[in-house]
Symmetry: C2
């Protein structure tokens, strides 16, 4: 990841052409390594004055603290000296210290990342968040950081009620909202309450987040796979399940939106059987080609629990989510939350409430949606030019797409193996990406979907995105089917293959 | 809570002598009410220019936003007008609007609060926290806000490992720490893991937080009361329980520290039976008269889970805590955390890590300890002067004390009733306070402790503390036993009454 190049040995260096890979999670280590190697190799000679940490940070687009910390570390190690008024300079090292010249350690970590749900800090509105927190703390009532309402801070429930009504058509009053720590906790609390009420089985989409099945299992609930087609989950097949977990706005990871017909059908099922619909609205705010599809909860607030999260709009590390629940569930959810962790972070709740009411949240979501749409177009364009035989699916919405892996239809190898090979091939190109079959329910008995990669649109920082696409195209072009020439097999779009 | 007084009717008012009770959680409502009443009553006449929101905020010690919001509300209601360049003035109200002169609504909410564990925002180091968060976000690696290590951010676990070793004698490596959302979640995760391993019963101190018993029960564990005397919990009475939950540094709420002899005994019990010791170190950093007592975990890291929290050092609303667990428990705790809420807020974790490494955390704890000690001394002094017959116990450490309620020893009324009367009497004085018996285990079969109030030292803001003490003394002086004259009954200190 590190390396040094063309460093001028003048007494003062303004801007160093260091090849620091900014996609690496170890930026500071990379910078330190690059500087260490530049000194060791003699590119930076004794007495050379380095740019100020502020200057170098600006040149490299890093936080100043990153540079200052790296300088501090190298001063501590004896490579550099720092003296008041004289700046940071290359130390006068005894020759032996430079002699070893061992190459910097090679990292095997991929430099590019197209996995879904792995955002970089760069996409988080850090300044707006910190400002919102500061203002919220100034304005908050005296008891805001005490043992608060288990449902969450009133400021946030108030802000969410109107925000969700406006943007998602959710019917919510502040007292019907339970703030939780991300979707995972929301589902865990629901599962606990359902289990307490005697529930045993929850239907889940046959391709879905495996972790969600684990959350259900941890509360004693079995999950039963529900096939998915172009209209979304086949809710007509629901039977005696106690609940169904759906991603109606944008099925994850396959992509379709739950059709109007299916929406009515699942609400009818719920009304007839008393089953609960759990609406995972993980990226409902991200639509590219059509108007936003309203939340299912708006059509059936007495049968649907709407679960939202800031993991896609802000970052998973925020760990905030919300349950909008039918009235007869709220008290039990509150009791479950009380004995689980009492409440979610008031600091984060106050900041988010402020960000929503100040308009900063909407602004950030609009910007993120714009970025995701632009990146989707870049992906389609790059693959069209560089790997024309490849098809892409699930592109109408959201923060990920499916890139179908070309292969021989009669190929006896399981789709999962085709994907594993592609993922390994991508890794050799320095690209992290993941296969579709990892999301398949282990009990699913339908024909597996054609092999595909689930490609995240929000993951790499801007400057690394086109490089990531180039690596993706190169990976795809190396696959056996494409080597045989385009057209040897055209994977049909998953959205047209009804299981 | 509201009222207006001696407001000059000059064209421009600089500083208004409004009696706004800043201890109320409804500062803005109080300010609005005071201003409304001042206009209504004619104390502020039409055209009077009010101080700028900045100026009035500075005069009253409020956040500027609070004042600006109150002004905005009153402009919206028509009491004030705001015009660019002309400032905020009293509106020209038609006479009828002033006529009703209905008295402002009386709140029945106590104005003073001496309950334990109910801190005000004023004691939270908001500026240091926001700065730490800002700096931490600048310096954080690119993946810091992604789906992170379930155990918690490495920055925080690293900071905690050395902080806990230094301040509490905890033996921890970063990989043995699981960050959680406050003590409640820490206990809930432990209870879940214990239950999965077949545990059924946890011994708890007979006076303890009732909510902790609820957390155990929610995971299917029964709690069994363990008597407490001057040496802390009677751990010699432990038998076949699967675990014991203790507050060794400062028994809550009774006050004693677990003696050296008992510490050895409980570790022997754990080693002999395989039982787990859960160390609730809720206020271990707060000692007044002696050196800090090291954590029990330091003497038996293979049998003790040390659970810490920021609820007392910073604020409950931070919702951060940590488990330092024996190696054979860590994996199960991580799995429980993963399926409960995946991780705790990375934002809060990064900020706390920075606050610890920057020294701001230590500084704040030192300041809080100083305040708590000073307030304890003020409490002793105030009661000595104003209610000399009353005894105080549990004063060597922590953020609360026990104020023993004088009563007739032969009084047949249960201690809980004596306390309920005192709490009601305090409420009539505008003081919120709580009785000791609320903490008693329902299955406890020992003689109840003498009636007492659990008095928090950290709750009111500085300017309200002496007022709260005056109300406490007045409450105590009204009790029947004291009305009969001092000496009619001297409650022995709880610490000398071995059950």
């Amino acid at each position: 990841v590190t390396g040094a190049d063309a460093v001028t040995a003048s007494p003062t260096v303004f801007g160093i052409d260091l090849h620091v890979d900014l996609t690496s999670s170890r930026v500071r280590a990379g910078l330190e390594g690059a500087l260490r190697e530049a000194v060791r190799s003699g590119l930076l000679v004794t007495g050379t004055r380095l740019p100020s940490s502020r200057q170098l940070a600006a040149d490299l687009g890093l936080a100043r603290n990153t540079v200052a910390d790296a300088y501090g570390q190298l001063v501590a190690e004896g490579w550099l000296t720092a003296r008041q008024g004289s700046g940071t300079r290359v130390a006068d090292l005894p020759s032996p210290a430079r002699a070893p010249a061992t190459p910097p350690p090679r990292t095997t970590e991929p430099g590019y990342d197209l996995r879904s749900g792995v955002p970089t800090l760069a996409s988080f509105p850090a300044t707006a968040w910190v400002t919102a927190l500061r203002r919220a703390l100034h304005a908050a009532p005296a008891d805001a950081l005490g043992y608060t309402d288990v449902r969450g801070r009133p400021e946030l429930r108030q802000a969410l009620a109107s925000h969700l009504a406006r943007t998602r058509g959710v019917r919510a009053c502040p007292d019907g909202i339970v703030v939780c720590s991300g979707f995972t906790q929301g589902l865990s609390l629901l599962a606990r309450v359902l289990h307490q009420r005697g529930a045993t089985t929850v239907a889940t989409e046959e391709y879905a987040q495996p972790a969600h099945r684990d959350v259900l299992a941890a509360q004693g609930l079995a999950s039963r796979p529900l096939p998915v087609d172009v209209e979304g989950a086949l809710v007509d097949r629901l039977g005696d399940e106690d609940a169904v977990l759906l991603t109606p706005a944008h099925q994850f990871p396959l992509g379709p939106t739950l059709s109007t017909r299916r929406r009515s059908a699942v609400l009818t099922w719920a009304a007839d059987t008393g089953g609960l619909v759990i609406e995972d609205d993980y990226d409902g705010e991200f639509r590219h080609d059509r108007h936003s599809v309203g939340a299912l909860q708006g059509r059936g607030p007495h049968h649907v629990v709407h679960v939202g999260t800031t993991s896609k709009t802000l970052a998973p590390g925020v760990r905030l989510g919300w349950l909008v629940a039918p009235p007869d569930l709220v008290d039990d959810l509150v009791e479950a939350k009380r004995t689980t962790d009492l409440a979610s972070s008031s600091l984060d709740q106050l900041a988010l409430a402020r960000l929503i009411t100040d308009g900063g949240y909407d602004k950030h979501v609009r910007r993120s949606r714009h970025v995701a749409r632009r990146r989707r177009d870049e992906l389609l364009d790059a693959l069209h030019r560089q790997a024309p035989a490849v098809q892409v699916d699930g592109i109408a919405a959201g923060l990920h797409t499916l890139v179908l892996l070309p292969g021989v239809p009669t190929d006896a190898r399981p789709q999962a193996v085709v994907e594993t090979d592609a993922v390994a091939s991508a890794a050799r190109h320095g690209l992290a990406v993941e296969g579709l079959q990892a999301y398949r329910h282990p009990d699913s008995d339908t024909t597996p979907r054609p092999a595909a990669l689930v490609v995240g649109l929000a993951t790499p920082p801007d400057h690394a995105y086109s490089g990531a696409l180039t690596r993706l195209a190169a990976t795809l072009n190396e696959l056996p089917a494409l080597q045989d020439g385009p057209g040897s097999r055209r994977a049909g779009p998953a959205s047209s293959s009804v299981p």
